[in-house]
Symmetry: C2
Subunit: 129 residues, 2 copies
Amino acid sequence: MNQRNTFQRTLTLDAVHALANHPTADDVYNFVHTKYPQISRTTVYRNLNKLCDSNDLLRVKIFGAADRFDHNLHSHYHFRCDECGEVCDLDAPYMESINEMFAGIGGRKVNAHQILFDGLCPECQKNSK
Amino acid sequence: MNQRNTFQRTLTLDAVHALANHPTADDVYNFVHTKYPQISRTTVYRNLNKLCDSNDLLRVKIFGAADRFDHNLHSHYHFRCDECGEVCDLDAPYMESINEMFAGIGGRKVNAHQILFDGLCPECQKNSK
DNA sequence: AGTCTTAATGGTATATTATATCATTAAGGA
DNA sequence: TCCTTAATGATATAATATACCATTAAGACT
């Protein structure tokens, strides 16, 4: 028996779909918690991990901030504004060639990569002028 | 009066120079602490921040791990093993050109980027055979 | 449907990284 | 030497995340 479909896991996955904009684990917890108040924060974290392991979700690691979860499984890059912290998808092609460039360094097998850009979003550029 | 040269600040800066291997704040604290046991952990964190603000040090943000400090280290890429979960530095050059490739998409200003590769480390490749 | 194995849950504790607060100390200009 | 205030150190707290463990329940197998 490998994986069981629990109500809590379904809620967790649905929450990431409902919260379209790259929610953090905390965002997911808050959303699920309103629908099912007795859920444990631990359960949400655990299920997010499991759902990433089973490729139902994508984990987007953010430096100096909480990981975010993405229901958009097709490879794409992300941008995080240094000012407001918002994370968004970059509408740009995934560069398969980068995997090949870095394949084999130190005897490692490269399957994929993710890129996180940072800088200023249009809004925050305006505000800083 | 803008900035004062305290013994503790000097110790902190010297420690980062002495610890060649892009130390974490904790590494720096431990090093300084052996020389000056009464120093506070808060003081080390605060001085590392100040030294970064004054461009005496560079902060290197790491996905899902403590920030690292160095005076000459440039951003570098990371690899995470899908099997054992270990994260390590990739000994490969930082590609400045990627910033330019993605500059201006959606009106965003790109300052930097980080790449996280995933796949199998040499150990886990052996084990999976 | 009843039983059984064990994955999953929920509550609590704990780890890690880092900043906030605040009374006290001391750097360095006057 | 005095004075202003930057810096310190101790403690508390925040944010993110996992460890632990007794209990519950999913779903496979009769």
